[in-house]
């Protein structure tokens, strides 16, 4: 049997994955046209049957299983210790109202009692909205850490990753820094309103990750694909870095060579190698 379409129909038929009546009819037609398909059907069904019922299912060794359960219990205790203020307070209607009222009064008192001349930098730190570069980068990183997003291209070679971006629709020159003690995991391209943007990831042997989302400033200005406030863009263009912490991640923004780099990591802020541009 050499007909690729028939082969795939046969496989899907065996797995009960022929979803449309059309495909089912096409497969029945193929069976009538080519009687030798019967052999293929039996051979492939037999193979599936052997795998399903005869292959040895290795069980996790008892001691290792116990070890994992203990590690989970320890994790549970440590999670209980660090509660997340925002998620837990505001999700409770009754407690939420009184707590929010107390916080509001506290903020008003702080604002009216602060000494003259203190700049609280509220314009720069106001980075919200789903297309905002800080939010996009943090969401991508979080999805990656949760397993909802994965690298499309696995490589630890910066040149291969740059080439992957070039050949997958990223129309600006990318920069892939080299970090001591971190190895490149790979890259993925995200699509924002039809524009392809570059993302790549590093990992360390102790489970720390650095994610970099780089966007050309052409896509950050005017009717922008990715949003950033003008205040912040100007602040970055002056050579400043912008740091913010969300949940347990730190995000750093940098501007260099007409690109804005959003770096997100689960490292401690002071350990994050932010001076990466050589």
């Amino acid at each position: 049997m050499k007909n690729k379409k028939h082969e795939e129909l046969l496989t899907a038929f065996i797995d009960n994955e022929l979803k449309s009546q059309e495909e089912l009819r096409a497969f029945e037609e193929a069976l009538k046209e080519d009687p030798s398909l019967e052999f293929d059907l039996k051979a492939e069904s037999l193979t599936k049957n052997i795998l399903k019922n005869r292959s040895v299912r290795d069980k996790m060794p008892g001691k290792r299983k116990e070890g994992i359960l203990r590690a989970l219990a320890a994790e549970r205790i440590s999670t209980q210790k660090k509660f997340t203020f925002k998620e837990n307070i505001y999700n409770r209607k009754f407690i939420g109202f009184s707590t929010a009222a107390v916080i509001l009064i506290a903020i008003i008192l702080l604002l009216f009692n602060r000494p003259p001349g203190v700049n609280i930098g509220i314009n720069i730190s106001k980075q919200t909205g789903e297309n905002n570069i800080v939010v996009l980068a943090a969401n991508n990183f979080e999805k990656y850490m949760a397993g909802d997003k994965s690298v499309q291209f696995v490589s630890n070679n910066p040149e291969e990753i740059k080439n992957y971006f070039r050949t997958n629709g990223v129309d600006y020159e990318t920069y892939i820094p080299d970090f001591d003690n971190y190895s490149l995991v790979g890259a993925f391209v995200t699509d924002h309103k039809g524009v392809k943007l570059a993302n790549h990831i590093y990992s360390s042997p102790d489970g720390k990750y650095i994610y970099i989302f780089q966007v050309h400033e052409n896509y950050l200005q005017g009717d922008s694909i990715v949003r950033i406030t003008n205040d912040l863009l100007n602040y970055l263009k002056l050579g400043n870095d912008y740091k913010t912490t969300q949940k347990e991640y730190i995000t750093v923004l940098k501007h260099k060579d007409k690109k804005v780099f959003a770096m997100v990591s689960n490292l401690d802020a002071e350990k994050l190698p932010i001076n990466f541009y050589k």
Partner: protein
């Protein structure tokens, strides 16, 4: 403030109870897959530990009512790619054209495959089946384990390997053809076949 703290601890306890009920029962399935992919029981156990710790940390993101097993497999895949893939030993490449030719020669010598079922299914040893699975290239091994051993749907496998469903179908077909010829060869060499 105390009612708030108690309520928060209740939530944590509920989250852990849900995790225990939904995720822990899949540990053996994940280990079975991890062992077949890494080829080493220590690496497989470490991979499972990392996967479970990560999935517990993100369990509040798990959408209840969806397939928890498929969600755990996705987390394991990312962990595997990041840490273990480089270490894993890749089996020898398979010459698929040679497999096709061998398969066609088996096919032409049988008018009916019915009795093959008994000869292969009943006589092959567990080790021979495991060896045949291990010898598959990683892309093929992954789909065949997820589909035939772990029972994931094409959609879940496509999501796991980041490929369209058509690719899942074609990889499965090829993987099973390679396995069939390998198992046939074992059976033939060991004299399990009557012919």
């Amino acid at each position: 403030m105390f009612p708030f703290l108690f309520a928060m601890l209740d939530d944590q306890q509920q989250l852990y109870a849900d995790f225990e009920a939904e995720a822990i029962p899949h540990m053996d399935s994940l280990y079975n897959f991890a062992l077949k992919i890494t080829g080493d029981s220590d690496d497989a156990s470490d991979l499972i530990q990392e996967t479970y710790l990560k999935s517990f940390r993100f369990f509040d993101k798990f959408e209840k009512g969806t397939n928890c097993k498929a969600w755990l497999f996705r987390i394991m895949k990312n962990t595997y790619i990041n840490t273990y893939r480089k270490r894993a030993k890749e089996p020898d490449k398979v010459d698929y054209e040679e497999i096709e030719n061998f398969y066609e020669s088996i096919k032409s010598s049988y008018s009916d495959a019915s009795h093959l079922e008994k000869e292969l299914y009943d006589n092959l040893l567990d080790d021979e089946i495991s060896q045949a699975i291990s010898s598959l290239p990683e892309d093929f091994r992954t789909v065949v384990i997820l589909c035939d051993i772990e029972g994931l749907s094409y959609e879940e496998i496509a999501d796991f390997i980041d490929c369209p469903i058509g690719t899942v179908r074609s990889r499965l077909h090829r993987a099973r053809k390679i396995l069939f010829t390998k198992l046939y060869k074992y059976a033939s060499d060991k004299g399990y076949l009557e012919k």
